[in-house]
């Protein structure tokens, strides 16, 4: 599968990461399945629920997930991925990310070094949960983009 992101989505994820720096920013990616492509349509920025170590952890609780999912479903979309920022760290998943990951979803990570958004990558959990594999991101401008 590949993840299709609009450049405006990439910019918006970076801005969210910068705004919440040095805490981790997080949100959901709503979109649609087109063949073997997950096409992002709408971002749902969420509040990081972790208060003890928000610098290196993020949490989207089930209620937030449910509300976001219902909102997306009203627009005919579904949750296709999650984004979060890695303050002062490269955009690679940690062991903690892998342990807590769901299959199939795209895990988009943006590195935010000293408050400036940098590289952005997407990862997908292997079916045996053993590894997190980098996922191809295709950049496509869409006519309508909700942020």
């Amino acid at each position: 599968m590949t993840l299709v992101l609009d450049p405006r989505h990439v910019a918006a994820i970076g801005r969210h990461g910068e705004a919440d720096y040095p805490a981790e920013a997080c949100g959901l990616i709503g979109g649609a399945l087109e063949g073997d492509r997950k096409v992002a349509v709408q971002l749902v920025p969420l509040v990081n629920q972790r208060t003890d170590s928000a610098r290196n952890r993020y949490l989207i609780d089930p209620d937030s997930f449910r509300r976001a999912q219902e909102k997306l479903e009203r627009d005919g979309l579904e949750v296709i991925g999650v984004y979060h920022s890695h303050p002062d760290h490269p955009p690679a998943p940690s062991a903690f990310d892998r342990e807590h990951a769901w299959p199939w979803l795209s895990y988009v990570i943006v590195g935010v070094g000293r408050g400036r958004a940098g590289e952005l990558k997407s990862w997908v959990l292997a079916e045996d949960r053993g590894t997190f594999d980098e996922e191809l991101i295709t950049s496509e401008e869409r006519k309508v983009v909700w942020q």
Partner: protein, 475 residues
């Protein structure tokens, strides 16, 4: 009719792309077993290797989380909807973000490392943590020792005092060999001996409105072990302004209390006590006494709460005040509400910077006692010349039993207003107490009652024992 199980997008590929499946079963556990029986690949994503539901998998029956119901045993009936809802967690590669543990540290902390809620990551969090202890005294002693032993990487200590022999009954951070040494030097040596991995950052100063923000800003958590109200309000306000958790403890005689104040997550100290008591109403440990073990218990609670905050485990003592009664050996708990009108953490705060806390606590307005105090040597000389001089001891009888000045009359401060008739107003009167504070209050009572020739012994019986009669024990 069967039960509908709603499948979230990430799991749909495992059930043939469907968003819902119909299953028969009487409980959530049966449904999930049937689901993973039919779609074996789902099992690894829903259940951990020990067979329990993974922490980030949430199951709702209709609109209720089964964790609030009967977990796996939650009954379901035909027509119900069971939803599998993800919670999503993750974060930076902690092994890189947090400091590594040396082999020595792994051995030292092995009893922590085998605790599931601590583990290597928790121990690394402790090592990365910066905790500031205000006061290296009764409460600060056990807190500093346990936090250092637990492997908190950096301990800041604020104190400006020197170790006194009377401290040793409870301040177990210090020892006989460090009497006369600064508390910070004494504490640093003890902490380094206990755990050389801990970095101690000493602040040999009184915490003031001028320096508090700069000192506290550099730390993650503050543990308040102060023994006076101005500093307690100062610590509280500074923590609210800087959004730092303030692990609070206080003790008096046989009772103690503890809480965690963190204004963004609950009430602050001012929500509990908006104003300080009038000066002099609540005696300090030096005046009122304290059982030595008590600060050990309350300071240990502060250490425990600090560690829980660092690890992010359990229920922190936020919004709760624990009251401890040593004589009954009883803990009670009070719920604390956040006060929306709180002057510092409320919706419209009036305190937006640090203020003059001495004045706030009514201490700055202390009257001048110039000319009404007499030193121990002066009293000895004058008493020899005028044996008619009347010395009034205003301490308690049990203090009198420890040590007293021969020839002095004992009238405890509390009884003084009713026993004025026993005093001869024509004679020169000198009041004395332990250190010279209560005798000034006695002097005011006597002056107000019309006694004109009254003075107070500066430094109390303690100064007398040091300068005049070394045969008296000091206490």
């Amino acid at each position: 009719m069967a039960v509908t199980v709603l499948i979230p997008t990430p799991l749909r590929p495992f059930v043939g792309g469907r968003d819902a499946v119909e299953l028969e079963g009487g409980s959530v556990g049966e449904l999930l077993d049937r689901l993973t029986g039919e779609h074996a690949a789902l099992k690894a994503h829903l259940f951990a290797t020990d067979g329990r539901l993974r922490s980030f998998v949430n199951v709702y029956v209709n609109d209720r989380d089964i964790r609030q119901l009967a977990q796996r045993e939650t009954p379901v009936k035909p027509g119900d909807t069971v939803s599998i809802i993800p919670s999503i967690a993750g974060g930076t590669a902690v092994a890189e973000a947090l400091p590594k543990l040396s082999h020595e540290e792994i051995l030292r902390y092995s009893r922590h490392l085998i605790l599931p809620d601590v583990g290597v990551e928790g121990q690394q969090k402790l090592k990365a943590a910066r905790v500031l202890l205000i006061g290296a005294g009764g409460l600060g002693s056990p807190a500093a020792l346990y936090l250092a032993a637990a492997g908190v990487g950096t301990l800041g200590l604020v104190d400006f005092d020197v170790v006194d022999k009377t401290n040793l009954q409870r301040q177990i951070l210090h020892g006989t060999s460090t009497v006369g040494v600064s508390k910070l030097a004494s504490a640093t040596a003890r902490i380094k001996d206990l755990n050389p991995n801990v970095r101690v950052e000493p602040f040999e100063t009184r915490l003031t409105s001028e320096n508090a923000l700069d000192i506290i800003r550099e730390f993650d958590i503050v543990a308040d072990g102060t023994d006076n109200f101005p500093t307690r309000y100062l610590v509280n306000d500074a923590c609210v302004l800087l959004d730092k958790p303030n692990v609070y403890g206080s003790i008096f005689r046989f009772e103690g209390q503890a809480s965690v104040f963190h204004a963004t997550r609950g009430p602050c100290y001012r929500c509990l006590y908006s104003e300080p008591p009038p000066p002099g109403l609540v005696p300090s440990c030096a005046e009122g006494g304290v059982l030595g073990v008590l600060p050990g218990i309350i300071g240990s609670i502060q250490a425990m709460e600090t560690i829980k905050l660092i690890l992010g485990v359990g229920q922190p003592l936020i919004g709760r005040l624990v009251l401890f009664d040593a004589l009954k050996l009883q803990f009670r708990e009070l719920k604390l509400e956040k006060d929306p009108d709180c002057p510092v953490c409320g919706t419209h705060p009036t305190v937006t910077e640090l203020i003059d806390y001495q004045a706030f606590c009514g201490i700055g307005a202390e009257p001048s006692y110039d000319g009404v105090e007499i030193t121990a040597q002066e009293l000895r000389d004058e008493w020899q010349r005028h044996p008619d001089l009347l010395v009034v001891d205003v301490r308690e009888p049990h203090e009198h039993e420890i040590a007293h000045i021969d020839g002095a009359v004992l009238i405890p401060l509390g009884e003084l207003p009713d026993r004025l008739g026993e005093l001869d107003g024509h004679r020169e009167i000198v009041t004395h107490c332990h250190h010279g504070a209560r005798s000034l209050k006695a002097l005011e009572i006597l002056k107000a009652a019309g006694f004109s020739k009254v003075r107070s012994l500066r430094g109390g019986i303690d100064a007398w024992a040091v300068n005049v009669d070394p045969t008296l024990p000091r206490y």
